[in-house]
Amino acid sequence: MDAAFFVQLLLNGLVLGVIYALIAMGLSLIFGVLEIINFAHGEFYMLGAMAAYFAVERVHLGYWATIVAVTIGALCVGWVLYEALLARLAGSGFERSILVTLGLSMVLQNGAVFLFTTTPKMLQTADTYSNVTIGGARIALLRVLALGIGVVAYAGLHLMLHRTQVGRAMRGVAQNRDAALMVGIDPRAVSRLAVVVGIGLSGLAGAALAPVYAVHPLMGFAFVFKAFAIIIIGGLGNVSGAAVAALALGVLESVMGGFLPQVVVDALSFGAMILVLLVRPQGLFGRGVRV
């Protein structure tokens, strides 16, 4: 197998890993701060992609304008989601939260199928066929841009969690809710921000990848379960762990897809998750910042 092909697979894997990372990081953040597994998380990725499709096809926005617009929209949707739904579940017990988000996912997914049918839509822009050459391999420009966006988003999230007051507050709440309350951190405000950021990341991923993959109502569904496996592998609530596990998974799936049967590739994430649970149940990098 020649080097160029390998580089191709690697780069594709990185792009895939970046989507996984954006989705998984948001999921991990929401779990870490609110202890809610957001079943509907993939749907916001799908909605981001759908919104991008309509922004480009109907409103004729440019690439960057679409990215920004959809991300801002996703942040707002996150805000609404928290206030309308997730805020009411505070301290509610694990099953209620998981079932509410499951119900939400059913509504969004099937609603989208009902409104838009399952036919995939291709987002065509002027750049769709532009390529960039890296290390002998030709890779679509849009994929490189998506990769770049992902890296910037990760850097931004990392900065927020480790360098800002509110990010530290978020980590504090994830670590020990009661202690956080006692030092005056408002768990509502922190939870709201976690949801806003988490959903924003999902929507951003959708917008960045809409021109790369086909857009259809079930695209989130395919990713979200892998995202669950990823956050278990990385450690429930550990955002950086999720990012690393996501990138590794994306690259592995892409590279292995080059020579292993499809069933192994598809089952890889779940197999890895089971292995981690048997050997190191707290995840490869431990349970977030929780002891």
Binding site: G103, N110, F225
Partner: protein
Amino acid sequence: MSRSTGLATASALLLVALFAVPLVTRNEYLLALGVSFATFAVLSSGLNLVYGYSGLLSFAQVGFFGLGAYTAALLMTELQWSALPAVVAGGALAAVAGLVIGYSSLRLSRHAFAIVTLSFALLCGIVARDWVSLTRGSMGIPGLPVPTVGAWRIARPADFYWLLLGYSVLANTIIYALVTSRIGRAMRAIKLNEALAQSQGLDPLAHRLLAVTLSASLTGMAGGWFVFYLTIVDPSVFDFYYTETMLIMVILGGPGHFWGVLVSCAVLTVVPDLLRFTTDLRMVLYGAVLIVAMLVLPGGIGGWLDRRRVERWRRIAYGSPR
């Protein structure tokens, strides 16, 4: 005593009426509805046993359903087994899967348990779709042979109706016998207050494994009979649709309420069909109901009835509601 004999007589009469349906009508639509109800009655009672009575939010049920289905189909088509042994073998394999999954994941946190059971079901679907040499992939295995049980050739819609209804009654009777016995009482106790139950000599793991394994085998056998009815088995037997539907039936009826779940199963089988909903709209409706139920009525109708019972007792004990 008279209340439960009354209930028993009513159920017996209802059963007789249900079994008599194919004798009075040839309407295939009605019979298909009956088959659907019978199958979902097993699925939702099985989930009720695991979630409602044992407190385990498990998404693995559809995995057992499909596993039993594929096993039974493959045994009949590849090894020429007859129907009954094939279906029972499917149930046995599903039970083993349940035991393995249960034993390894019951030690994990509830979040991890939910995710693992979910992943198991997805993995089953992935294997069914991708392991083409075994399962023939997305095309599935069409043209399943007509099952025969003894001298009875099960070919007409009425036959399948009786078969699935009969199996559903059997499975639900087993579950009913279990949950009304002291074992069922122990399961509820473990769910309500695990530490207290342990201090009274009850072994949580043993009871949970029993629930998971039993419901896995009953669900697996339902899968076997169901795909013979469809005459084809394909990866769609693992669809998340089944999980969502059985979940909403249990939630609405009330987790831990045997009759409530059966009633909600009947209602949710018949009503959306009457309203001629397409699958997507039906799912949107279910999702909305799930959200509303979780926010407003988390114990389902059964839970609401229980709360009224508590309120009644509070009035007796203290003269006015607290």
